[in-house]
């Protein structure tokens, strides 16, 4: 079973993502911030990470950088409420850039796509 790490500072969002993705058949762990996420990754490298951009402490951009250093091949989905940073990150940093939505369909599709390749 594939493992997904969800990184987001909002508890509700973490819970929702976890529930939905678990229903979709993945093993899901969460982290509330960048530091926690790195710890989780080291413990148990996931097959995919979703990152929220705006987080206290280490923000998503920094985390992204760290993750890329450690795991070049690890698929990362940026899942953020920001729409305007798309131009900077969409093509080079992450494998996907999604605007957070209550409708997780697109997220699920993207996850499947990335893990399917």
């Amino acid at each position: 079973m594939r493992r997904i790490l969800v990184v987001d500072d909002e508890e509700a969002v973490r819970l929702l993502y976890q529930e939905e993705l678990t229903d979709a058949g993945y093993e899901v762990s969460t982290a509330a911030g960048g530091a926690e996420a790195l710890a989780r990754i080291r413990e148990k490298p996931p097959d995919l990470i979703t990152i929220d951009l705006r987080m206290p402490g280490m923000d998503g951009i920094e985390l992204l950088g760290r993750v890329r250093q450690l795991y070049r091949e690890l698929p990362v989905i940026i899942c953020t409420a920001y729409g305007e940073l798309r131009r900077d990150f969409a093509t080079w940093a992450s494998d996907a850039y999604l605007t957070k939505s209550a409708d997780l369909t697109e997220l699920k599709i993207k996850v499947a796509e990335l893990l399917g390749r």
């Binding site: 969002v13 729409g83 305007e84 131009r87 850039y97 369909t105």
Partner: protein, 800 residues
């Protein structure tokens, strides 16, 4: 009547003596007396020639009367004899042979004395034979009788002469002093001299200290014209000698003197005196006679000297008066000019507008008859274009107009600013003179070879140019049409910012050094004033710009703030929405069994969906990110979108159809934006079919130039490769004509809720891609929205 001589021995002699005495007493006239006495001597002694000589107080012995003839027909003999008698001034009785040269006959001379003073002699000559003692005694007795009478008569005459002389001189002096103007004084002096001396010719020459030479003053007499035009000056001859030596010269034998000039062959005698004022030589006063036999006496000389003294005072006075008047006039001119400069300075404070300031400067230079110039024009330097640009000209167009204007102006002395204001009004009313128009049309390149005006600016110095000067050719002839003009630079901060040109076209008055000096001062002031005005204007413009920028900046900041607020709000709102909507969906799934609760959950989820859409639209509109187009497979994009709306469609009872003309269709687009556009259309389509229907998405390739290419919202040139068109077709109610026109307007919406940003966003996206969006109503009902994407052309290798 004391007498030292013994009475005559003969009765004839005694008788004669009485006669003479009676005659002397009877006759008082000096001139009669001087004839009577020699005649009496001739009679008494039967002499051939008798001569009476008198010596004046100056020691000069002159023959005052004679009688008889030495030898008839040989007057020169008589003259010789007369001279011999004159020379002997004591009692002498000599035979003629005693004289060198030897003549026959005898001489007899007796002295005339009064008291101890010897004041003359009486002499006789007889060809027939020498005189004897008795005859000598008789002559001596006659002389003794005559002497006192002669003396008294002579004194009387002298006194009368002196009185007349003084009176004459006084009168002449009065006439001279009554005149203040130098020319009139000199005329009076020469007229007085001529009168005083009883001559026809008199002249006065003035000493020029700087050139150390005599120059013409005034002359009277038949040769006056010749003297006036005397080419060789007055330094030769007796006038020059008098000036150099400061001593008077009396020449009774002019032609024999060393001072004789060949130009004056007729002159017989001259009298010349220096005109001195307090040791200073003012000039030389001279008179001459062409009358043969006329001699000037020491009395004449004295008279002329007196007159010269009077003349000196009068000349000096006249000069002082003239000098004072000249200074006063110069002062007046200077005051007026300073007042003009002052007025310009005042105007500098008052008027910062360049046009008004230029007019004041030019008016100040041209106003005032006799002080101002006829015409003036101003050019300013345009450094950017390297040109001298004419800005304004002030001056009449013709002589008649000039006279009219100046006459009107001088009638009432207006302040400078009033005149300038009046002219401004004229100019604004379209009455600009042709000179002004010509001035404004001037464009002169700032190169030295472009002429004097360019050089004035480049070299920052004044020029005065006359016809015939090398610099005159260009400007003087061509467009100023004057004989003389001057140009001065307006200088500010060490460089020329403009040029002021003046001329006196109508009066022809030459431009003097003082004029140039005045122009220089004025140009300095003007340069500073114009620079100030220009700086002021630039500052005003800059201030306006800054204010504008400030407003814009504030507006932008407000917008930016708003944008940031929106972005922030959107972001803040999104997260909660994710939670709300997400869990609502989960609830919906779990409550599938309980219809009502399930409905509740679904409603919540749907409303959240709407909210997200609103946020998405707003976000797109408030901050626009540039496109990141990539080569993508259109089919995949469409499928993704359909997947997203699939559930919703199913619930509404809308069937989905996909028709791709050519598989695969490649497209160059921003994948996110593409999906955004499509999703918008799909959402609209679904909303148009609340009760169900068919939603069809088709894609096809369209070549360039196809029908319908030019329609729709969007812009950009038609790509050579043609288009890829994606169509979204619904089977809903369709769209009214009235609504159609406004479909793509931001915030226009027919829905009860929603921002109305959907279609404008689609249009923006299509514009960004260089494509367009079209809407057509289908005849069978429903709407068709088409997205036209430019065909990317031959395949490129790009990284996704």
């Amino acid at each position: 009547m004391a007498s030292d001589a013994p009475p005559p021995s003969s009765p004839d002699g005694f008788d004669l003596l009485c006669r003479v005495a009676r005659g002397c007493v009877a006759v008082r006239e000096y001139s009669e007396l001087t004839q009577l006495i020699p005649r009496a001597a001739v009679e008494v002694l039967a002499a051939d020639l008798a001569v009476l000589c008198l010596t004046d107080p100056g020691g000069v012995t002159e023959v005052v009367g004679s009688a008889g003839e030495a030898s008839p027909g040989a007057p020169e003999v008589g003259a010789w004899l007369t001279e011999r008698i004159r020379e002997i001034r004591r009692a002498v009785r000599l035979p003629g042979a005693a004289f060198p040269g030897g003549v026959a006959g005898g001489f007899l001379v007796v002295p005339l004395s009064h008291g101890r003073e010897l004041f003359g002699s009486l002499g006789c000559y007889r060809l027939g034979g020498p005189f004897d003692e008795a005859e000598q005694a008789a002559l001596a007795a006659l002389a003794a009788q005559a002497a006192p009478i002669l003396d008294r008569a002579r004194r009387l005459v002298t006194a009368e002469q002196q009185a007349t002389e003084v009176a004459a001189v006084q009168e002449i002096g009065r006439a001279i002093s009554s005149r203040l103007e130098l020319g009139a004084v000199l005329e009076a002096v020469v007229a007085g001299a001529a009168t005083l001396l009883g001559c026809q010719h008199a002249q006065i020459t003035l000493w020029d200290e700087s050139r150390q030479t005599l120059i013409y003053g005034a002359a009277i007499g038949p040769e006056a014209a010749r003297v006036r035009s005397q080419q060789f000056g007055f330094d030769r001859g007796v006038n020059g000698a008098t000036a150099r030596s400061r001593a008077p010269h009396l020449l009774n034998h002019y032609q024999a003197s060393p001072y004789a000039l060949p130009e004056y062959p007729d002159v017989v005698a001259t009298v010349t005196v220096p005109v001195l004022f307090e040791e200073r030589l003012l000039g030389v006063l001279h008179s001459h006679t062409t009358e043969r036999g006329r001699r000037f006496t020491p009395i004449d000389l004295r008279r002329l000297e007196l007159l010269a003294t009077q003349a000196a005072i009068a000349i000096e006075h006249a000069r002082l008066v003239a000098e004072r008047e000249r200074l006063a006039a110069a002062e007046l001119v200077r005051l007026r000019r300073l007042s003009v400069v002052g007025a310009i300075g005042a105007a500098m404070q008052g008027s910062m507008r360049l046009e008004g300031l230029l007019r004041i400067i030019l008016t100040g230079v041209t106003v005032g008859q006799g002080m101002g110039f006829n015409r003036a024009l101003l050019l300013l330097v345009d450094e950017a274009q390297g040109l001298l640009v004419g800005r304004m000209g002030v001056g009449p167009d013709s002589g008649e107009e000039a006279a009219r204007i100046w006459g009107r102006l001088d009638a009432a002395a207006h302040p400078l600013t009033d005149i300038a204001a009046a002219r401004q009004a004229e100019a604004e009313g379209g009455e600009a003179s042709s000179f002004d128009r010509m001035a404004r049309s001037l464009r002169i390149s700032l190169q030295p070879e472009a002429g004097v005006l360019a050089r004035t600016a480049l070299e920052a110095r004044p020029f005065r140019v006359r016809r015939g000067d090398p610099e005159w050719a260009e400007e003087g002839k061509a467009w100023l049409e004057v004989e003389e003009f001057a140009s001065v630079p307006l200088v500010a901060k060490g460089r020329a910012i403009g040029v002021l040109v003046v001329d006196n076209k109508f009066t022809g008055k030459p431009i003097s050094d003082v004029d140039l000096e005045f122009l220089g001062i004025l140009a300095q002031q003007a340069g500073a004033a114009v620079e100030s005005a220009q700086v002021h204007a630039r500052l005003e413009a800059a201030l306006r710009e800054v204010r504008q920028s400030h407003h814009q900046l504030l507006a932008q900041e407000r917008l930016a703030t708003l944008g940031e607020m929106v972005a922030h709000t959107v972001h803040e709102v999104r997260n909660p929405l994710v939670a709300i909507g997400g869990f609502a969906r989960r609830l919906e799934a779990r409550l599938a069994g309980s219809k009502r609760e399930g409905d509740y959950a679904r409603l919540i989820a749907r409303e959240v969906s709407r909210l997200e859409k609103i946020l998405g639209d707003v976000q797109l509109f408030s901050r626009e990110a540039p496109l990141r187009p990539v080569e993508l497979d259109l089919a995949g994009g469409i499928r993704d979108c359909l997947d997203l709306v699939g559930e919703l469609a199913a619930r509404q009872g809308v069937g989905l159809e996909l028709a791709m003309e050519t598989d695969p269709l490649r497209l160059r687009a921003d994948p996110v934006r593409l999906k955004q556009a499509l999703l918008n259309l799909l959402a609209n389509a679904l909303e148009a079919m609340p009760g169900g229907g068919v939603l069809r998405v088709a894609s096809r390739r369209v070549p360039a130039g196809a029908a319908g290419e030019a329609e729709g919202e969007g812009s950009g040139p038609a790509p050579a490769e043609g288009w890829i068109v994606v169509e979204v077709i619904d089977s809903g109610a369709g769209i009214d004509e009235a609504v159609r026109a406004k479909l793509f307007e931001p915030f226009f919406t027919t829905k009860e809720s929603g921002t109305g940003l959907g279609l404008p966003v689609v249009r923006r996206i299509m514009q960004a891609h260089g494509g367009r969006v079209q809407m057509t109503s289908r005849p069978e009902g429903g709407a068709l929205f088409a997205l036209w994407f430019p065909h990317p052309g031959p395949r490129e290798e790009t990284s996704p």
